[in-house]
C-alpha cells in the first residue's frame, strides 16, 4: 500500500549564480500528507514549480506513478492526476465560481465544442460546493470572493479532476484561523478518500498535527526527513531555522 507516487531525483535549478534547488531528491508515498518545509528562500516553491512543469529543471528528473516525466508540462500532469494550487490563490476572477470549477474538471475534445456549462458540469460543481459549504456562492463572479474563499475555491477546483496527488503551496497563508481549520478538515477528508498531498506550509503547528512525513529543505537541499517529532529535534533543522 505504500507505493511511491512521486519521486524527485536530483533536481537542480540555478538562477544566475544562485542555486535555488540543489540536487534535491525526495519521495512522496501514496496516501500520505507529506510536508515540504524550510526557511524562506530554501527552494520550496522552486521545487514545486519544477515538479509541476512551470519551471524547467537544469538537471534531474521526476517520476510520477512510476512513469518518468521527460518534459513536465502543467496541462499534461494535470490530466495524469497531479495538480497544484498557488501561494497567491490563483483563480479566474472574471468567471463565476461555478465556471471556475467546471473548467478545472477537464473536458474531452467533443466537450470542447459543447456547452459552456452542461447539466453534468453543474451537478459536479454543486456537489463539490456543497462539500465545501459554499453553495451560496455558485453564481457569484469569483472576483467578489474574499481571499480565504478564493483559496478554498482554488482548492476545490483542483479536486474537480479527481487528482491522485495535490501540491498545495501555503494553503493557509493569509487566511483567518477559522478558515485554517476548514482547510485542514478538507485536506484530511480528501486524504481519507485517497488523495495524496504534498504541502508547503509555514504554519508549524498545522504541519505538526497534519503531516507525516516531513521533508526539510535548506538552501536548496534536503537536510532532514522523518516524522514531525524526529524532524523537530533534528539539530540540522534547528540550525537552519534558528541560524547558526
Amino acid at each position: 500500500m505504500s507505493a511511491i507516487l512521486l519521486e524527485v531525483d536530483h533536481l537542480t535549478k540555478r538562477f544566475g549564480g544562485v542555486t535555488a534547488v540543489n540536487e534535491c531528491s525526495f519521495e512522496v508515498q501514496e496516501g500520505s500528507i507529506t510536508a515540504l518545509i524550510g526557511p524562506n528562500g530554501s527552494g520550496k516553491t522552486t521545487a514545486f514549480n519544477m515538479i509541476t512543469g512551470y519551471l524547467k529543471a537544469d538537471s534531474g528528473h521526476i517520476r510520477f506513478r512510476g512513469d518518468l516525466i521527460e518534459r513536465p508540462r502543467p496541462a499534461d500532469l494535470y490530466r495524469r492526476g497531479l495538480s497544484r494550487t498557488f501561494q497567491q490563490a490563483r483563480i479566474f476572477p472574471e468567471l463565476s465560481v461555478e465556471e471556475n470549477l467546471v473548467i478545472a474538471a477537464g473536458y474531452s475534445w467533443r466537450q470542447l465544442f459543447g456547452r459552456r456549462v452542461s447539466r453534468a458540469d453543474q451537478d459536479r460543481a454543486r456537489q463539490i460546493l456543497a462539500e465545501f459549504r459554499l453553495e451560496s456562492l455558485l453564481e457569484l463572479p469569483a472576483a467578489d470572493l474574499s481571499y480565504g474563499q478564493r483559496k478554498l475555491l482554488e482548492f476545490a477546483a483542483v479536486l474537480m479532476s479527481n487528482p491522485k496527488l495535490v501540491l498545495l503551496d501555503e494553503p493557509t497563508a493569509g487566511v483567518n484561523p477559522v478558515m485554517i481549520d476548514t482547510m485542514e478538515r478538507h485536506i484530511r477528508e480528501r486524504n481519507a478518500a485517497g488523495v495524496t498531498f504534498l504541502i508547503v506550509e509555514h504554519d508549524m503547528q498545522l504541519v505538526m498535527r497534519l503531516c507525516d512525513p516531513v521533508i526539510v529543505l535548506d538552501q536548496g537541499s534536503k537536510i532532514a526527513f522523518g516524522t514531525p517529532l524526529e524532524v523537530q529535534s533534528d539539530p540540522l533543522v534547528l540550525e537552519a531555522y534558528l541560524g547558526g
Binding site: Y54, Y78, R90, L95, I103, L112, R115, V178
Partner: protein, 344 residues
C-alpha cells in the same frame, strides 16, 4: 452574466438585422448605402478580430494581412470573368477555410509570445505581407494593382449584393462569437485571457483553443477582404494591406467593448460614420484624423473598458448595491452569523 439565448437577445439581433436589410429597399441617398457597406464591413472585421483579440486576449495588429490575402485570393480568382456576378460569392467560404488553415502556422509561432510582444510580432507579419504584395509582381501585379472583373449587376441596385454579402458575414462573425461564448471554447478562452499559466495548470487545452480562435478569426477577415476586393474592383498593396484597417478593427472593438458580442458592432457604427463625417467636414486635409483621435481619446478616458462593459458594470454595481441594502436590512432583523456556523 448568464449567457443564455434570451428572448431579448433574439429580438435585439432580429431588429438590428431587419433594419439593416430594409435600408436599401426603402431607398435613400446613394451615399447612405455606401457608408453602410463600409460600416457593416468594419463591424464584420471588428467582430472577427474580437474572436481572438477580445475573447482570447491576443491583440493582433496584423489581421489586415489576412484581409489582404483574402482580397488578393478573390481578385486573382476572378480577374477574367465573374459570370452572372453572384457565383463568386460562393467561393468565399473556400477562401475563408484556406486562409484559416494558412494562418495556423502563423498563429502557432506568434502566439508563443503574449501581449505587447504578440502585437509587435503580428505587425511584422502585416508588413511582410504588404512587402510580398508589392514585390510578387507576377502574382499580385505589385504596385500596378490587380483588378476584378466587373459584375453585370443592374446599375440601380449595383451595391446591393455587396451590402448583403457584408451583412451575411457580420451575422456569421456574430454567430461564431455567440457560439464561442456559450461553449467550452469560450470558457477556455476566458481562462487564457485571464491567466494563461494557471489555465495550463487546470488542464485547459490552451494551444488548441488559441489556434481555433486565431484560424477562425483570420478566415473570417479573409472573407470580408474578398467581398471588399469585389466591391472595389481594383486593389493595390497599400490599400489591401493597409495598417489603418487593422487599427480600425482594433479601435472599434476597444471602443464598443472587447470580448462582448455587440461591442465591435457598436464601435463600428460610431467610428465609421464619425470618420466619414470628419473627413468630409475637414476636406482633403488630414485634420480629420485628429478629430477621429479626439473622439477616441475622450471615450477611452471615461469608459476605459469600452462602452458596453462600462455600462453593464455600472448596472451590476447599482443592482448589487440595491441587493446589499436589502440584505443589510434583513441582517439587522436576523441573528448575526457566528463563527461556529461559518466553520460548520
Amino acid at each position: 452574466m448568464k449567457r443564455m439565448i434570451t428572448r431579448a437577445g433574439l429580438i435585439r439581433a432580429g431588429v438590428f438585422f431587419a433594419l439593416l436589410i430594409i435600408v436599401p429597399i426603402l431607398g435613400g441617398p446613394v451615399w447612405l448605402l455606401n457608408l453602410l457597406i463600409f460600416t457593416v464591413m468594419y463591424a464584420a472585421l471588428s467582430s472577427s478580430w474580437n474572436l481572438l483579440g477580445g475573447l482570447a486576449g491576443y491583440p493582433s495588429l496584423g489581421h489586415v494581412a489576412f484581409f489582404g490575402i483574402g482580397a488578393y485570393a478573390f481578385a486573382l480568382t476572378f480577374s477574367g470573368s465573374v459570370g452572372d456576378g453572384y457565383s463568386p460569392f460562393l467561393v468565399l467560404p473556400v477562401i475563408g477555410i484556406a486562409v484559416g488553415l494558412l494562418s495556423l502556422p502563423i498563429g502557432w509561432v506568434s502566439m508563443r509570445t503574449r501581449a505587447d510582444v504578440f502585437a509587435i510580432v503580428t505587425i511584422t507579419f502585416l508588413f511582410i505581407t504588404q512587402t510580398l504584395a508589392f514585390n510578387l509582381t507576377k502574382i499580385t501585379g505589385g504596385a500596378q494593382g490587380a483588378s476584378v472583373a466587373a459584375p453585370p449587376f443592374d446599375p440601380a441596385t449595383y451595391d446591393w449584393p455587396f451590402y448583403y454579402a457584408m451583412i451575411v458575414l457580420l451575422a456569421i462573425a456574430m454567430g461564431i462569437s455567440f457560439y464561442f461564448s456559450r461553449s467550452k471554447i469560450g470558457l477556455s478562452l476566458s481562462t487564457v485571457r485571464a491567466d494563461e499559466d494557471k489555465a495550463h495548470g487546470v488542464g485547459v487545452r490552451v494551444t488548441a483553443v488559441k489556434l481555433i480562435a486565431f484560424a477562425v478569426s483570420a478566415g473570417m477577415v479573409a472573407m470580408v477582404g474578398g467581398v471588399w476586393a469585389y466591391y472595389i474592383g481594383f486593389i493595390y498593396p497599400q490599400f489591401a494591406v493597409d495598417p489603418l484597417i487593422t487599427i480600425g478593427m482594433v479601435l472599434m472593438a476597444f471602443l464598443g467593448g472587447r470580448g462582448t458580442l455587440w461591442g465591435p458592432v457598436l464601435g463600428s457604427f460610431i467610428l465609421v460614420p464619425a470618420q466619414q463625417f470628419f473627413a468630409q467636414s475637414f476636406g482633403a486635409s488630414q485634420l480629420y484624423l485628429l478629430a477621429y483621435a479626439a473622439v477616441f481619446l475622450v471615450i477611452m478616458l471615461f469608459l476605459p473598458r469600452g462602452i458596453l462593459p462600462s455600462i453593464s458594470d455600472r448596472l451590476r454595481r447599482r443592482r448589487a448595491a440595491a441587493l446589499g441594502a436589502a440584505r443589510d436590512a434583513e441582517a439587522h432583523t436576523a441573528d448575526a452569523v457566528t463563527p461556529e456556523e461559518v466553520k460548520a
